[in-house]
Subunit: 297 residues, 2 copies
């Protein structure tokens, strides 16, 4: 009886074995081949499974997905953007297994709710702020899935002050303003000469005024979007993981200032917003939760 | 065995008897006395109850509320703004009754989900656009309540383009831009000489350019906030009731144009946004649903 978790990220696959306490072992990772990702994904699954009998597989995928159809169509993986029947393909590898697919945002929320900062929290948001911005929702004690498994697309809340085009085709999404990639792009257009969100945070720490302005802009947009979601969902706690969220006070001070300014209804005034204590593998843990709970259902 | 529904609006109380099919009868209404609302509310409840044995009372209240504490503290009722223990007071009137309190947004969503435009819809929004803007959320087949019963405060999603102060203390909330009251205020500041959102819609129908601009601004803001909520919650259908929502094409065309422009992720592209077919008494119906379901639980 082996339960596997698979995380489909924009650039990396991760697969691990999950125990009933949601601990992972034998985690292996592989780069996503943009044009034909399945062979690499398949090899990784088979390598981790070895000769064990796989009883359940939980899949967390970058969005969007079509969960009822078992299809993933991640914006950022060219070969799968038009849709790939991941559930059917995984089921063909492990015919005895229950296979479950959820968005990476829902998986993140499952991980935070079962073993992270949203434990015991009935209403909260689990966000990730890295090159992009995503998340998942816990509402009335449950992780929301949504009609097609895409609930938690926090990154596409529209924020004030910027009508930048977003990868989704829309404009002014918080991801298009506050993601590490868009923040770095904004700074480069103003003369900063780095490449990534992580470098941008480093420049801000060294006092670079353009980098500081970029983080201020990102933090403000995140605080505005958090305020919008908190009013809509009456949440008590927000946890934020991801590489760009580690940018320190230059990001967090404007973020908290925006929450103070915009989240004024009395039921959201006590809202706490904290850095996640889960590691980068949180989505994989959440995929594991999905699989373990499917296996025991 | 009589089940009562009570709707606490900013200016009016409504009480009715609810049957198991959520039909209302004996509905009576009374103005809210701003400084001491309870005696009027109490008389209305007793008048509708008559000498029947009341077994359940459902209360839908303008927000915010503190549902776990049984307290309402509506922004727009001065005498109750600091908090009024409505559940305790109603229970003292009907000692044998189960008493349930929810926000008016959740009640609206209950009504739309059980007998209105969200019947059979697992993920949707029920909005009201009148002098203010509010709503409720159906997610994964259930009406969300939130930590304190305030889930569905759609009116306090922050929208681009306007940093107007909102009654909640925040800035740029969709209610502060797109509510009938704020739209009329915006138009008056530009030389229009009417008073209400309803008059504003009438002026727009007659071709008044300021009124048309006000409705365009309101519709755009509503479409942006709907796009934000739809991405976050992966909903398939939005129904909108309330007086200002009846403003016709001058409001609905920019609203739909904004949804087309901002809701671009593939899972929200099929989103339908329609006028509610429920009457103005929808919140009272929802309070009735709350009571009937509590009585039969």
């Amino acid at each position: 009886m082996t339960v596997l978790a698979l995380d489909i990220g924009a650039t990396k696959f991760a697969v691990g074995v999950v125990d009933p306490g949601f601990r992972l072992r034998d985690v292996r990772r592989a780069a996503v081949t943009a044009d034909d990702p399945w062979p690499g994904c398949r090899s990784l699954l088979l390598a981790v499974a070895g000769d064990k009998r796989v009883t359940a597989v939980g899949i967390g995928s970058a969005g969007p997905i079509d969960a009822p159809a078992g299809v993933t169509k991640p914006l950022n993986i060219a070969g799968w953007r038009a849709g790939f029947a991941i559930v059917e393909h995984v089921r063909a590898l492990f015919p005895d297994a229950v296979v479950r697919l959820a968005g990476d945002g829902a998986c993140l929320a499952l991980a935070e709710h079962r073993i992270g900062g949203l434990r015991g929290v009935g209403n909260g948001l689990a966000l990730t702020v890295s090159s992009g911005v995503g998340g998942g929702v816990v509402a009335d004690g449950r992780v929301l899935l949504g009609r097609t498994g895409n609930a938690g697309h926090f990154g596409h809340i529209v924020v004030p002050g910027d009508d930048s085009p977003c990868a989704c085709g829309g404009f002014g999404c918080v991801e298009a303003v506050a993601g590490g990639m868009s923040s770095a792009r904004w700074a480069r257009a103003r003369g900063w000469d780095g490449a990534t969100g992580i470098e941008l945070a480093e420049s801000a720490r060294l006092g670079d005024p353009i980098a500081l302005a970029a983080l201020d802009r990102a933090g403000t947009a995140l605080g505005q979007a958090i305020s919008s979601a908190a009013a809509l969902l009456d949440v008590e706690r927000v946890v934020i993981g991801g590489g760009f969220a580690q940018s320190g006070a230059s990001l967090w001070e404007p973020l908290r200032a925006a929450v103070d300014r915009y989240a004024r209804l009395d039921f959201v005034r006590g809202l706490t917003v904290e850095l996640s204590t889960l590691s980068e593998g949180a989505t994989l843990v959440g995929a594991g939760v999905l699989a373990v709970e499917a296996a025991s259902a």
